[in-house]
Each structure stands twice: as structure tokens, then as C-alpha cells.
Amino acid sequence: MATQVVKKPEARPAVIQPMIYKSVVTVYRIFAIVTLYLVLLGVLAYGFVMGFYALNTSWAAPVILSPADDKSLDFTEKLVTTRQTLEDLNVDQKKLQDGVAEMQKHRTALEGLEPELKTAIVREQQHNQIAGPQLMELDRQKQADNRKTLAVMAQVREVEAAIDKDLAAGLITKGDAATQRAALNQAQSSYTDSKIGEILLTDNVLEKTTVDTKSLDVLDKQAELISEIAQLDVAISVAQKQIYEETKQIASLRQALATAKQTPYYLSVSGGSAVYFAFVPYDNQSSAAIGSAVYDCYLNMVGCRKVGTVKQIFAGEEHAIHPIFRTDIRGFLIQMQLDHSESAKSKTVFLSRKPLFF
């Protein structure tokens, strides 16, 4: 096998076409070189910006808080709700306090009644202890008297019969007979009264010597009184506890309101002059001090000028998107006193010092 050499003749190009091609290629190459240098420049700039913001610890991102933005609206809504709740709690607490005072007054009155009732019961019991045996003795005497009277009443009936006989015999007149019969009826009636008296006395003795329904009623009243006092105690205790809780809640809400007044959102929604804020990530916390200078820079890093100072530092944690890395970051807000309001619209500002010393 021999080595073979092959050469293919090139086609002769037209005259104009190569010129056009050459022009196109030249333009293309210029464009390509410029593009590639721009890409290179872009990559280097991108890398530098990334590195700069990864290492820099003094940047802050200005934030313009509008009363109409979601956070401010949410804040306003919460503020109004908190104030309303506070008002409601105050009214409720007043009501409860009045109620407790009323209940305590009532309780005092009931408490005053209870010993009187007890004294009356004791006094009655003591009286009954004395009167009961006496009445019992009198009752026994009465019964004996009545028994004797009953025997007499048998004689009265005989006398009545004798009156009829005497009248029939004409020994007495009708008038005498009527007078005698009236006397007999009176005796009969006296006996009946005496019998009634005996029964009443017996009844009275029963009342004085045993626990009857009247006594039970009095005891029931006494129990009711004690129960009512106990119920009042519970109600007062509950109301006082509620007052205590509400007092605590009111204190918390007042504290929350006081804190809210220290937030940038309150400053934002409360109107007045323009207020400027900036988000400071925790990594840059050391650069944020009240009174420290605020610098605004061209291209977010060079040609910096002082545009104001840090006026206030807010304690609450905030979340924001990193202006370069676009990641979620944690930090806090500061209030800036700006001499140049335009700087509030910059992507970043720098605190305390210029980032690149110029």
C-alpha cells in the first residue's frame, strides 16, 4: 500500500463576494471581541461586586415605608385593634370593679343579718327550754282540771233532768227552768273552752319542746343566708381574678402600644415629616450606631458622599432580601436623618465609613 496524496482544487471565488464576506467577518470579529471583552468585564465586575458585598460589613439597604404597603397596613390594623381592645378592657374592668363593690356591700349586709338571726334562734330556744316544761306542767294540770270538770258535767246532766222534772211538777217556773238551763249551758260551754284550751296548750307544749316546721323554716332561711354569702364570695373572687387578669392584659397592651410607638411603622403611619429608614443586616450591626454617618455611593461602592446620620435604631427583627445575593437575610431597621432625600432611593448606603476609602 503506498501513501497517497490528495489535493482538492479550491473554487475560484467571485470578486465582490469575498469582499462582502471579509467585511462581514471583520464586523463579526470586532463585535465578537467587544462582546467577549464585555462578558469578561461583566464576569469580573460581577465577581467583584459579589466579593465586595460578601466581605463588606457597613452596608445598609434604604427602605421606603409607605403607609399603604402591606406591613404598614397590617401594623395600622393591629394598632387600631390593640387600642380598641384596651378601651374595651378598661370599660369591662370598671364594670367589674363596680360589680364587686356592690356585691361586697350586699355581702356585708347579709353578714350583719346572720348573727341577729342566730341570736333570735338561741333566744327562742332558751325561752322554749324554760317555757316548755312549764307549759307541760300547766297542760297536765289543765287535763286534770278538765277531767274533774267532766265529772261535774255528768252531774250537770242530772241537774238538767231534775229541772225538767221540777218544771213538769210545777215546782219551778218556766223562767226559772230557762235560767237554770242557761247556767248549765254556760258550764257546758266553759268545759268545752277548757278542753280547747287544753288542746291548744298541748300543741303549744309540742312547739316548745320539739323541733317544729317553723323552726325548720328559720333554719332554712339561715342556710340560705349563708349560701348567699358564699355565692357572693365566689362571685367576688372570680370578678377580682378577672380584674387582676384584665389589669395585667391592660398593662401588656399599654406596653405593646408603647413599643409600637417605637417602631418605624408607627413613625411611618403617624404622618408628619418624611422619615427615612434603612435595613441593616446583623452582620453589619457594628457599623450602625446613633449619630454615625451615612454615605451614598455611585455604583453602590465608589465615589461616596456623606448624606446624613443614623437617628434611631429599632430593636425589632426584620427580614429582607439581600440587594445583591437576593437571599433572605435577618437584621433590623434604623432611622436615618438624610440631608439628601434622593439617597433614600439608593440600592445601598454605607454606615460609619466609606467602603473603599473614596
Partner: protein, 415 residues
């Protein structure tokens, strides 16, 4: 608005890819028509065209592997064409010619450095065979490769057939491991839907078989191929495949025809190779867009979709990375994409170990590094490729000390 649009396009592309890959797997496992009916009794005469530039001893090993082919030796020959190598490649070709007398080896040499595409055409001049198989001079071929490729041409409408390219050095380092996964997935999955419609968008130049009459028809186009007067020496495989399709022939990948290539093991080499491929893809996109009506009326919709979407994907990748960098750069470093890549690596690693032991990757987790590479690739390769379309080098095979020779030869050629 623009980022949203980019994301929407990206999601659409991912959706298309998902459908395509799912469809590919369904086709692969359950549709017999997705594969060509091979006829091994069909044994046309074959010329193995081997263009070579600065491959050194590798070219000898390549010819040696072809000499071990089980295709009837009287029916095939090797035509090795040297493109003015400045190393000892030509000597190794001559040695192979002497050593492997069981097959016919022709050795030729260009008078001037002409690039791979024209070197293939020059090699073609010495051939009278019915079937041309263009190969890369740094590959090792399976003994069945020629037989497998030829068997597919029994289907008359098939114009070009490619083989599967395996990786010889999968475990050299993470770079080669990543490429092993990419190569395997590309041939075993990605090209399956294209195989079904006989419309593979790009047959690898490592192992590219084409009918003689078709190559002869396309040859003038290859020789006259230029970019505003600058000869185009790269991407002849994609160009040949494209031309085959436009002439109404089918293209197909036979995964049973296997060759093994040594993939770049350094980032610099990989970058050069990928840049060459990217240029080829972009040129092909411009060509497709310039003749889009012809494509739409002539080709299968799947083919048009492949020809347009593949290069558009490269441009889209650039936009996506730019959007991510201008939005949230750390999103690229998030665990989501990495987990996704590692999951793919785990599956592919298992499949390769089971079905292609020779390519088994010892550390599939290396595929996670592909995430970083895809960013670099999307951001720089596409831009660089767009800005260097006037390049005419051999890509990975140009060494610094050889550049002058290449430039000198090219000047002479233009003169």
C-alpha cells in the same frame, strides 16, 4: 416579565424533555417498530474512512481494533487519511498498514491541513465501496461494529446509521465519570424517539455509516461549506446527518454497534471539545432557521422539533443562568438541583453497572459536579461559541506548538 418568560420556556423545555424521555423508555421497552429490522445477511462492501490529525500511536490502536472486526475481510477496507499531523501519526498509520495484513489498509495524506470534514472527503476519493463508515481515529471498535452498522442498511430508506459511543476511561476522574453518564443516557434514552421516526438529529462522527451515493451527493456541500468565506472544518457529523435527512433518507442509531472513545479528562480539553460541539450546534441552528420552510414541509415534525429545540436549549440555558445570576445567585447552590442530579446519577449508575459493565462508574456521586459544569457551559460556552464561529481548528487536537503550522497551512490553502 423577561425572567418569567425565561422560566416559562424552561419549564416548557423540561416538560418536553420529560415527555420525550418517558416516551423513549416506553418505546424502548414495548414498541418493536422503534428499532430497525437488521438483516445480517446484507453485507455490502465497506470503506472505513479514518481522518486523522495528531493522534500519535492511538491511530495504530484504532486500526488494530478494526482489524479484529468479524465482518468479512474481503468486503471492507480502512482508508486512513492524515491531515498533515505534526506528530508521528502518519508513521503509526504506515506501521498499522504493515502490521495488519489481514485487512486492506490504505494510507493517504493531505497536502495541506484541511480539517476533518475535508479529510473525510479526501479519503472518500480512494473508495469504491457501497458503504462508507467514517470513524474517529482515537476510538476502539467492537468486532461487531461494522457488521451491526451494515445490517441496518437493509432498510432501503435508511441513509445514515450511527453506532453507540462508549467511554474508555470512565473512572479516570470526575470529569470522565460525568461524560460517561451523559454519553450513555444520550444513546440509550435520548435518541430513542428519534430512532423511532428514523430521524436522529446528530449521528456521532466517532462511528458514522452512510451510503456511498449519498456521501458523494453531499461531498460538494461539505467541501464548499464555509462561514462567510471561512471554511468550516467542524461538525461534519451533524452536517452529514442533517443533509441525509433533508434528502429524504432516514437516520438511525444502532446501539449494538459500539465503539469506545477516550473522553477529555481535563477541564481545558473538555471545554475545547464542548466549544467545538456548541459551535456546530449553533451553525446547525442558523442553517435550520435559514431553511425552515423546507424543513417543515420535508421532515417529520419530530425531526424539526429536534433540530430546532436542541440548539435552542443551548441558548435558553444561557438565558436561564443569566436570569438566575441576576436574580438569586445562591439558588444555583441550593440542594434541589444537586439532589436531582444525584438521583439521576444513582439510577444511571445502577443501569450502567448492570448493562454495560465496562463503563461502570465507581463514584456515581461525581455526577453532582455536572451542576457546576452546566452553569459554566451555559454561561460561557454558548457565548464563546457565538463569538468564535469563524474558528477552524480541530478543537481538542490542536496543541499550542501546532497552531502555527495549522495557521500556515490554512493560509496556503486560501491562497
Amino acid at each position: 416579565m423577561a425572567p418569567v418568560l425565561v422560566w416559562l420556556i424552561l419549564i416548557l423545555c423540561l416538560l418536553i424533555s420529560l415527555v420525550k424521555y418517558t416516551f423513549a423508555l416506553i418505546l424502548k421497552w414495548s414498541v418493536p417498530g422503534a428499532t430497525v429490522k437488521k438483516d445480517y445477511t446484507y453485507q455490502p462492501t465497506v470503506s472505513v474512512l479514518m481522518p486523522c490529525f495528531n493522534e500519535g500511536k492511538t491511530v495504530y490502536e484504532t486500526i488494530e481494533s478494526i482489524s479484529n472486526s468479524n465482518y468479512p475481510s474481503e468486503k471492507f477496507e480502512v482508508i486512513a487519511q492524515d491531515d498533515c499531523s505534526v506528530d508521528d501519526s502518519h508513521e503509526w498509520m504506515l506501521k498499522a498498514q504493515r502490521d495488519f495484513s489481514n485487512i486492506r489498509v490504505r494510507v493517504g495524506r493531505n497536502t495541506v491541513n484541511s480539517g476533518k470534514a475535508r479529510t473525510v472527503c479526501n479519503a472518500l476519493q480512494h473508495s469504491v465501496a457501497e458503504l462508507m463508515i467514517s470513524i474517529d481515529s482515537d476510538c476502539i471498535f467492537h468486532p461487531d461494529a461494522i457488521r451491526e452498522l451494515a445490517a441496518c442498511f437493509s432498510e432501503p430508506k435508511i441513509g445514515s446509521v450511527g453506532g453507540r459511543v462508549g467511554v474508555r476511561n470512565p473512572n479516570e476522574n470526575a470529569i470522565t465519570a460525568i461524560q460517561t453518564f451523559i454519553y450513555y443516557a444520550a444513546f440509550q434514552v435520548y435518541k430513542v424517539p428519534e430512532n423511532w421516526t428514523r430521524s436522529v438529529g446528530c449521528i456521532s462522527g466517532c462511528l458514522f455509516a452512510i451510503r456511498r451515493e449519498l456521501l458523494l451527493e453531499i461531498e460538494p456541500k461539505i467541501r464548499s461549506r464555509h462561514w462567510f468565506g471561512i471554511p468550516v472544518n467542524q461538525g461534519e457529523d451533524r452536517f452529514l446527518t442533517h443533509q441525509t435527512l433533508l434528502r429524504g433518507y432516514g437516520t438511525y442509531i444502532n446501539n449494538d454497534a459500539v465503539c469506545w472513545t477516550t473522553v477529555p479528562s481535563t477541564l481545558a480539553d473538555l471545554f475545547k471539545q464542548q466549544l467545538r460541539w456548541k459551535r456546530s450546534i449553533i451553525r446547525d441552528l442558523f442553517y435550520t432557521l435559514r431553511t425552515l420552510p423546507k424543513h417543515v414541509w420535508t421532515l417529520h415534525p419530530n425531526t424539526v422539533l429536534t433540530l430546532v429545540l436542541t440548539p435552542l436549549g443551548a441558548l435558553l440555558g444561557l438565558l436561564v443562568v443569566l436570569t438566575m445570576l441576576s436574580g438569586n445567585p445562591t439558588e444555583l447552590a441550593g440542594p434541589g438541583p444537586l439532589i436531582g442530579y444525584l438521583a439521576i446519577a444513582a439510577i444511571l449508575g445502577w443501569v450502567i453497572r448492570k448493562y454495560s459493565t465496562r463503563e461502570a462508574v465507581n463514584n456515581p456521586l461525581a455526577f453532582g459536579a455536572y451542576l457546576a459544569w452546566s452553569v459554566v457551559s451555559s454561561l460561557f460556552l454558548t457565548t464563546l461559541a457565538l463569538c468564535t464561529l469563524d474558528s477552524r481548528d480541530w478543537g481538542t487536537r490542536v496543541k499550542e506548538q501546532e497552531q502555527e503550522a495549522v495557521d500556515g497551512d490554512a493560509s496556503r490553502q486560501e491562497a
